[in-house]
Every structure is written in structure tokens, then in C-alpha cells.
């Protein structure tokens, strides 16, 4: 089974995140990494292939540094990588991003399965998987916390607040996974040593037959017109316990609508 995993390179949530003048997330001047939520998709792909056969290709769309996300997945064990990188992609919204991803998946070949994470840890819209499935004409099973593949179909369990659903779809399909599905592995020494020799292709828009006007600010349906950085966290309130600590705590929780 051949699998394409879509992974996003995001700013490290531990460091400060900033916006560029054009209101896009600053991805170049900050520490970045493979979106943690996408590690689950990589792990699931590796498990599926290890239990049977086939190859895992990791795909990312992003600026030059985004190749680090691909490399991390290769160190975890993925077989090859594709990095779509083109200045014209800057400013793409979810719709335009999904168009680039769709063209890249088509160029990679016809995978049996496309895997994505639950949401990126920076944009966090959770819409790219659905858009991508639609563009590829694939059935989509998103937000699954358990996945099995047998006899040409996938079965996934989606947990909601009120029920657990089991959803089935025929292959090829797109599946989005949650952080409950597995425990991503650490890149092993062998993985690290082998990654150097694994192929990573870099494609531009023209390699995908796309035009600059179809992506970026121009090709996007939506545009961020304003951003306000969240104000710095305020200093906490210290309440000395003068025998009435419990009462004060309950008052605080009540006031903050936490109980």
C-alpha cells in the first residue's frame, strides 16, 4: 500500500510566534518544526506499511525551511519526500493550499491512502483535509482515533462528545487522524543515519502545472485583513490563605465561571 502523508512545517509553539507585515504567520525567522499533530499521521502511515508493504511519501507545502518537516518524517522512517516550494505560494489560504497539495498528490502518483493530521498547530482550521479530499475526488474519513485497512477499504473510529462512530470508505481514500490514534516514535539512530540517503524532490508551481494567479494572495478566497497579537499574559493573583483559602478558591472559580 502506498501512502502520502501531508505534513506541515509550523512555528514552534514553545517560542514566540509573530506575524509578518502582510499578516501571514512568520515561518522563516522563527524556530519551526513538523507540526506535532502531523507526527501521528506519519506514525500511522509507517505502522500500516510496516504491517504490510508499500512506501510512505511525505508531502509538504511551504517555504525553504519547511523541508525540515520532511526530513523529520524521513528520520522517523518515511521512504521519500516531496517539498512544494515557490515564492508565489506565500499568502495562500486553506483553499489555495489544498489546491497545491492536490496537484502534488496527483503528480506523486495514485496513492492508496492520503493521510493528514487533525489540524495544523498554527492555522488550526482543520479544513485542509476535507478540501483536499474533495479536490482529489476521494472519500474522506477525518478525525479518526483508530484505523484499520482490509480488503480495499478503510475503517476509522471517530469519537465525539455523544457517541463513537465507525466509518468505512473504499480505497483510495483520505484519512485524517487525531492525537489519540498512536504514540509517534522517536527518530531512531538507524532512521537518522538512513535519512541522509533518502530522496527529497523539490517542486515549483510550474512542475505542478499551476499558475501563480491560482495561489498566494491572488488565488485565495479569503484574506487576513488584520491581526492583533494576544496581549502578554497578566500576572496571576496571589491570595494568601488566612484560614479562608477554600472559600476564596470557590469564589474565584465561580467568578471565572469555571464551576
Amino acid at each position: 500500500m502506498n501512502i502520502v502523508v501531508c505534513v506541515k512545517y509550523v512555528p514552534d509553539a514553545q517560542s514566540d510566534r509573530t506575524f509578518s507585515d502582510d499578516h501571514t504567520t512568520d515561518r522563516t525567522n522563527v524556530d519551526g518544526l513538523l507540526s506535532e499533530l502531523d507526527e501521528y499521521a506519519v506514525e500511522e502511515a509507517l505502522k500500516l506499511v510496516e504491517a504490510g508493504e508499500g512506501e510512505v511519501t511525505v508531502l509538504t507545502v511551504g517555504p525553504e525551511v519547511a523541508v525540515e518537516a520532511v526530513k523529520k518524517a524521513l528520520k522517523m522512517g518515511a521512504h521519500k519526500g516531496v517539498h512544494v516550494c515557490d515564492d508565489a505560494i506565500h499568502g495562500s489560504d486553506a483553499g489555495a493550499t489544498s489546491l497545491v497539495l492536490a496537484k502534488a498528490v496527483e503528480k506523486i502518483g495514485k496513492p492508496d491512502l492520503v493521510l493528514t493530521g487533525l489540524a495544523s498547530t498554527d492555522g488550526t482550521m482543520s479544513v485542509v483535509p476535507a478540501m483536499l479530499a474533495e479536490r482529489l475526488g476521494l472519500p474522506q474519513v477525518t478525525q479518526v482515533s483508530e484505523l484499520s485497512v482490509a480488503d480495499g477499504s478503510v475503517k476509522g473510529r471517530r469519537d465525539t462528545d455523544i457517541a463513537s462512530e465507525t466509518v468505512e470508505a473504499s480505497l483510495p481514500a483520505l484519512v485524517g487522524v487525531t492525537d489519540q490514534i498512536n504514540e509517534p516514535r522517536y527518530p531512531s539512530l538507524k532512521g537518522i543515519m538512513a535519512a541522509k540517503k533518502k530522496p527529497v524532490e523539490t517542486w515549483s508551481l510550474s512542475d505542478l502545472g499551476l499558475d501563480a494567479a491560482q495561489v498566494g494572495f491572488e488565488g485565495s478566497w479569503t484574506k487576513v485583513v488584520d491581526v492583533t497579537q494576544r496581549p502578554a499574559r497578566e500576572k496571576g493573583e496571589v491570595q494568601p490563605d488566612e484560614g479562608d483559602g477554600g472559600t476564596k478558591l470557590v469564589e474565584f472559580l465561580n467568578k471565572s465561571k469555571l464551576v
Binding site: Y186, S188, L189, K190, G191, I192
Partner: protein, 390 residues
């Protein structure tokens, strides 16, 4: 994770590493921070560790016997092995000991001196952490001077029969296989002993004040009968065990600096947030003098470790250089750990912080794989040509 950006910036050790080396350090560090560090205080207090589970996790990371070639071992560089030791020992010397004894002592003995069958039988499982090994050289009365060992192996037809005992054997009670060194009618020979062999007993050493997150045992052999195929065919004499010890010593040069770095990171963090006389402890000159001096020794020790690692990878390393590294880095690491303890004061004596745990562990690290005195004698001999051991 206690990483301290200002310290990393000052030492800039990362700039001397390749991407692959940095990646390995990062992976071992993340593993240790997520899977080991949260439990260390409890393991140390209880004197218990889930050795098997940890071995399997280390096996999955690929660090057991990582510097060996073939038999499912990764064939990584010596420097890479050193860096793995450093990151594991930043968590706890006991866990690094588990890796050293498995990879550098037991696996190296089988890899370098074993028969093809011995290698096939043990190395892949040991690399995966499915089988655990120990290394029995020291005896109750013979530590620094192993040549005097009393454990004897006698031929009986094709078989060997071993009688005697070993002491201070790391992993002894949890091992599946022991590499045991014994005196024969000819020379000292090594034996590959499955621990379920009749006549083999391992007894845990209790009441340790150091390396509590590591299992230490006494071994005893009573008419322990082994087939002829159990002997390590490719070596006789002390060269066998000493070759393995040299590998493990090398890892300690890096490892000790991991423990020291963890202490210094902890002390820096603590000094920055502890308010004394209305200002942070870090703002006092006496504290800064301690922090500055410790940083110098950490940085020098890290550079020394890398220098020795690069020499080993280039094939130019002399045994006395390993002694220089082990002597200096253990000695400085324990000084740093103790000095950091003074910065944490009362908090420093608890298991809520790693500093006294590291300091206590480093007492063992200074002792095993050749005591500081023995390494002074080796360096002295290299310099003067005079052997002053006896």
C-alpha cells in the same frame, strides 16, 4: 527539559557537531526527558528500575551496541556513541550504565572475541534490547587489579567447569547472559554464560547510596558447567576485558559531562528564580563566580570529550588519552554537581532536583572503569615511561 539557551549559546558545542550528530543527541534527549526523567526520583528512591522495558526502548532507539558493525548494530561513529551517553547520563548515570554495560562491555566482548554462533545468538537480540547482558570482571578482593582474580575455569573433557564469584556487577540480576572472565590453567579467558545455567546465582547488592537507578549484583558460580563452545575463542589474557573497558571508559568521558550539564542547567534556572534578600540569587557576585567557574569546566570537559571522540573516529586514539578524559571529566563533573548543590541549598538535598542524585551517582562513575587513581597512574606512565602500579 531544563535546557538553558544562554548556556548553550556560550558553549556553542552544537556548532562542532554534524547534523546527524545533533539529530541523535536531540532524539536521545527527548526520549530521556519524556520517558525517563519523570520517574527518576522514584526509581532512585526505590532502588528499582524497569530494566527490561528501558532496554527495549533503548533498543528501539538503536543505541545499544550502536558503535558496532553488523548483527543489527548501527555502525555509528564513536562520537555519536559518546553523544548518546551524554544525553542519557544527563538523565541519570544509572541508565547510561545500563547502556554502557550492554553495548560497550557485554556486546563488545561477544562482537570482538566471540564465535560466529555466539554473535548470531546474542548480538541481534541484545541490540534490540530483548536480551540483557552483564560483564563480570571485578571480584570482592580484586577490583583495580583484576589479574589476581580467583574465579577459575577448569576443563573437564570438552566442557568447562567454573567456580568463584564476582562483585559489583551492573545488570547482574536482570541479565539473560553474563560475560564472565575466569583464570584457566593457561590464561584469563572469557565465557558467554546464559544466566539460567545451573550453578549461576546473582544476588542484588542492597543499601547503595549511589547509582540506585541501576541494578548491581554479586555473582557466584558453583560447579557451573559450560560446553566448550561457551568460551570466547578469539582472545586470552587481560587484553580481552581491558579492550571492552576502554570502550566503556570512552563513553563515560561524554556521559559525565551530561550529568554535569544537567546540574548546571538546574542551578542556573534555580538561581534565576530564587529570591534572596529581595533579589534573584543569580544576581549575587558569589553565585555568579560559581556559575562562571562551573561553565568553564563544563565547556572544557565537553571540548575534551569531542577531541577524544574525533581521535577515536580517526583511529589515532591512544589508551592514555581515554584515561585523561575519564579522569578529568569525572573529577570535574562531581565538583560541578556538588557546587550546584550549594546553590540549591536545602532543596538541593532532595530528589525534587537532580543535583545530589547526580553527585552521588558520580561517586560510582569515578570508581568503575578504572578509579581516578588508576587513571593518574596510566597517564603518569605514558608521560614518564615508569610504571608505578605496584
Amino acid at each position: 527539559m531544563t535546557a538553558h539557551p544562554a548556556l548553550d549559546k556560550l558553549t556553542a558545542i552544537d556548532s562542532l557537531l554534524s547534523e546527524e550528530e545533533r539529530d541523535l543527541a536531540t532524539t536521545v534527549r527527548s526520549f530521556a526527558d519524556d520517558k525517563l526523567r519523570p520517574y527518576l526520583a522514584d526509581w532512585f528512591e526505590a532502588g528499582e528500575i524497569p530494566a527490561r522495558e528501558i532496554a527495549q526502548q533503548l533498543g528501539a532507539l538503536g543505541v545499544l551496541g550502536m558503535h558496532l558493525d553488523g548483527y543489527e548494530c548501527a555502525g555509528a561513529s564513536a562520537t555519536m556513541y559518546g553523544l548518546a551517553c551524554q544525553e542519557l547520563e544527563a538523565a541519570d548515570s544509572g541508565l547510561r550504565s545500563l547502556m554502557s554495560v550492554q553495548g560497550s562491555l557485554a556486546m563488545t566482548a561477544i562482537h570482538h572475541f566471540g564465535s560466529e554462533e555466539q554473535k548470531q545468538e546474542w548480538l541481534p537480540r541484545m541490540a534490540a534490547g530483548e536480551a540483557l547482558g552483564c560483564f563480570g570482571l571485578t571480584e570482592p578482593d580484586f577490583g583495580s587489579d583484576p589479574a589476581g582474580m580467583r574465579t577459575r575455569a577448569k576443563r573437564d573433557g570438552d566442557d568447562w567447569v567454573i567456580n568463584g564469584s564476582k562483585m559489583w556487577i551492573t545488570n547482574g540480576t536482570v541479565a539473560d547472559v553474563a560475560v564472565v572472565w575466569a583464570q584457566t590453567d593457561d590464561k584469563i579467558r572469557g565465557f558467554v554464560v546464559p544466566t539460567d545455567t545451573k550453578g549461576f546465582t546473582a544476588t542484588e547488592v542492597k543499601h547503595k547510596l549511589s547509582l540506585r537507578a541501576s541494578k548491581t549484583a554479586g555473582l557466584s558460580f558453583e560447579d557451573m558447567r559450560l560446553p566448550g563452545s561457551a568460551v570466547l575463542p578469539e582472545v586470552s589474557g587481560l587484553r580481552g576485558p581491558l579492550t571492552c573497558l576502554s570502550e566503556a571508559r570512552f563513553g563515560i568521558i561524554f556521559g559525565a559531562m551530561g550529568a554535569a550539564r544537567d546540574c548546571l542547567e538546574t542551578a542556573l534556572e534555580y538561581a534565576g528564580s530564587r529570591i534572596i534578600y529581595d533579589k534573584p540569587l543569580a544576581g549575587f557576585q558569589l553565585t555568579q563566580a560559581k556559575l562562571a567557574d562551573m561553565t568553564l569546566e563544563l565547556m572544557k570537559g565537553q571540548l575534551l570529550a569531542l577531541h577524544i571522540g574525533r581521535q577515536k573516529d580517526a583511529g589515532t586514539l591512544q589508551p592514555a588519552q581515554v584515561s585523561v578524559g575519564k579522569l578529568n571529566n569525572c573529577r570535574e563533573a562531581i565538583k560541578i554537581a556538588r557546587e550546584c548543590r550549594t546553590i540549591l541549598a536545602a532543596n538541593g538535598i532532595t530528589l525534587d532536583y537532580p543535583v545530589l542524585r547526580h553527585a552521588n551517582n558520580l561517586e560510582s562513575v569515578m570508581t568503575y572503569e578504572g578509579t581516578s587513581e588508576v587513571h593518574q597512574l596510566i597517564v603518569g606512565q605514558a608521560l614518564t615511561g615508569e610504571a608505578a602500579f605496584r
